[in-house]
Amino acid sequence: MVLVHLIPTTGGILLSFKRLNTFTFSRLFDAPWSGLENYRGILFDTANPLHDGFFGAVQNTFVYTFWTVGGTIVGGLAIALLLNRPMRGQRLVRTLMLTPWIVPSFVVAVLWGFMWQSDVGIVNKILVDYTGLLGERPIWLLGENSMWAIVIPSIWRGLPFAMIFFLAGLQAMPQELHEAAAIDGAGPLRRFRYITLPLLRPLIAVQLLFCVIYAAYQFAIPYIMLGSNPGPDADLMMTLIVRQSFSNNLFGFGAAASVLLTLAMCVWVAVWYRAFKRDLEAT
């Protein structure tokens, strides 16, 4: 861990203060110091190649994370509630429901990129040709739609894990509470609101923490589906950083942007901790 996490991270932070570009790359750690230049460039210098894309990527990452995490948690909870009912083939359904989680991200991206194609893809065939739900064929992989093109597969892949996690919580829940409430005349919605949800809070908190981190660092799905530059509407922080570092050799800038991203996530953890502190101590 020291070898892979600690020392290299320190190295990465050091690099963020270096002028590391096409010409100095071969000198690596001997590249000239540039102080806070990389950070200034990203945040304030409009002529900097990273500046322009940076705020767009920040915004996109917010949007992506919001919808992906929201979809994963709400969807996961909804399906968990569905599966918590006794029914025939329950075990089979529960197991099969987990399979999307097993499909590797790079396969998910290739597959969905293929399904989204506007003229021959199956999604538009269903939405336009077979059911007529939409009059015109949307182009999913361009413009604003491309955000949905990466959010939906991300939810699809992430949801099963949240589902099984919540399902476990639901099953461990004491039945007496529900029964007592039902006798008192509380309907299913009220029981969900006042019994299920509060008891699930710690689980939601854990899911929220890791889902947000995972979504904010998403790379494989946009990169494989939309290419190294997913465009102004779907360029996430990680695709931006990896592109600028590894295709454009702006390693110093890339490292600085990574540090900023890390700081942002630290803020998120702090906020999260404040919000859910009580729930964590309860368990």
């Binding site: 570009n21 096409t22 010409f23 100095t24 790359f25 071969s26 690596l28 000239p32 002529a47 900097n48 190649p49 322009d52 989204w116 194609q117 506007s118 003229d119 064929r137 182009i139 999913w140 992989l141 361009l142 413009g143 604003e144 739609n145 939309l226 290419g227 530059n229 465009g231 102004p232 509407d233 592109r243 590894f246 295709s247 454009n248 050799n249 702006l250």
Partner: protein, 451 residues
């Protein structure tokens, strides 16, 4: 048919002659030039990208005669196009890598600037040096403003117009004049749109394609624009001429002549749409010609397969037709333990017969002039490509080009997207602001220095 036969016979004769010549002199030549014999039994590692249907096996077979003759073994490794840039850069910086690698022509200056590659200046005379290659292709082995030859051209491609003969006939357009200049190019697409409703007139890939810039630049060049100033110190992508070129492409989209759903695809996927009969006109490289006769390539629809025509790129207002010429070079790593053997392999891959055989397998053109001419003479369609290569243009060989190309690619992508109605509203002002941003970014990259 007889004509083709005659060409084939002539080619074989020439090839035999070349082979014979090589055999006679090879021992003297190599010994004289290198002062020592090749070590038998050593293994060279060669990185190649997916160029042909079975990249590794195909190339391994291609170098088998070399191993038979010299006793030097070759280990061919396949590196995907997606990762090759990272891999080669890392290998050059770390000094850990193969002996020889394939590199895209526009990447050579960057790799050379890293300092991990051998300067081949003293050796290239053995394979004819500069005189054996078309000028544009030879330039890809150099770094502007620096001494040294960092690569040897391997195979070449240039872009020409592919069209459907049957569609043009239905539209009542004469193929001979259909793509003469930019105006007739547009008029032809309009005629197809009006008279042949079941096919899209034209399509090109968008920002996902590695070669978006190669797709757009010919129109910029046609209009008198350029990517950089002649001294490669400043970007000129936002000049009025360049803007006119980019707008030409954008306007094709807004006027409905360019199937905008192609913009979500990469180059090969759009190619498959032309082959599948969805597009009437498409701009592409020579490898598609080679796939027509391959029965197992079922991406071709029968109508498309039977009706392929190739025309040179249109001329612009300046009266000259431009096209992008590219392909791949071979570079030798400085850290190779076997420089003489590595060079011998490069030399073998540069011999006329190997050039023809491998190019044929790939559907590309040989990089060297003589074999290039032979392939060009083999059919009417190939001739169009041969001419395209001779007049083809490429970018300034400077280390920062790759980054600048990425910056342009982003902006071109944004412009085409907005023309397709999925970005900011399309207007001359939008194009201008995107190109200004591209130029500013490029100037910033040009100003990078080692200090």
């Amino acid at each position: 048919m007889p004509k083709r036969l005659a060409v084939a016979v002539a080619a074989t004769a020439l090839a035999l002659a070349a082979c014979g010549g090589e055999d006679n002199s090879s021992t003297d030549n190599t010994k004289a030039a290198q002062g020592e014999a090749l070590q038998k039994g050593v293994t060279l590692t060669l990185w190649t990208m997916p160029n042909s249907p079975q990249p590794k096996e195909d190339l391994q077979k291609m170098v088998a005669p070399f191993t038979a003759k010299t006793g030097v073994k070759v280990d061919v490794q396949e590196v995907g196009w997606d990762v090759q840039f990272d891999r080669i850069r890392n290998a050059a910086v770390a000094g850990e890598g193969p002996d020889i690698t394939q590199a895209g022509t526009t990447q050579v200056p960057f790799f050379a600037a890293l300092g991990g590659f051998m300067d081949l200046s003293d050796r290239v005379e053995e394979i004819g040096g500069k005189a054996a290659y078309a000028e544009g292709i030879w330039n890809t082995t150099q770094v502007q403003g620096q001494e040294g030859t960092w690569a040897v051209p391997w195979f070449t491609e240039a872009r020409s117009i592919y069209y459907r003969k049957d569609v043009l006939e239905k539209a009542g357009v004469d193929p001979a004049t259909a793509f003469q200049d930019l105006d007739s190019f547009k008029a032809t697409l309009q005629a197809i749109k009006d008279k042949v409703p079941d096919i899209e007139p034209f399509g090109a890939p968008g920002k996902k394609a590695y070669d978006l810039v190669h797709q757009v630049m010919p129109f910029v060049w046609d209009n008198g624009g350029a990517e950089l100033s002649a001294d490669a110190k400043q970007s000129t992508i936002n000049s009025p001429e360049s803007q006119a070129g980019v707008e030409f492409m954008g306007d094709l989209i807004t006027s409905g002549l360019f199937d905008k759903s192609q913009l979500e695809r990469d180059g090969t996927q759009v190619e498959n749409q032309f082959k599948g009969g969805r597009l009437a006109v498409w701009i592409g490289g020579p490898w598609v010609l080679g796939s027509i006769d391959r029965a197992e390539d079922d991406t071709w629809s029968e109508e498309a397969r039977a009706n392929v025509g190739v025309a040179p790129m249109p001329t612009g207002p300046g009266g000259k037709a431009y096209t992008f010429v590219g392909g791949s070079d071979l570079m030798v790593f400085k850290n190779t333990k076997y420089p003489n053997e590595a060079w011998a392999l490069v030399k073998f891959l540069s011999s006329d017969q190997t050039q023809i055989d491998y190019a044929k397998l790939l559907g590309m053109f040989p990089a060297r002039l003589d074999p290039q001419q032979q392939v060009g003479d083999s059919s009417e369609n190939h001739k169009a490509f041969f001419q395209a290569i001779q007049s083809g243009r490429t970018y300034a060989p400077i280390p920062q080009w790759g980054q600048i190309e990425n910056a342009y690619k982003t902006r071109f992508g944004n412009i085409l997207d907005s023309a397709a109605g999925v970005g900011t509203d399309y207007s001359a002002a939008t194009v201008k602001s995107q190109l200004d941003a591209a130029a500013k970014e490029a100037d910033g990259l040009l100003a990078q220095s080692a200090g």
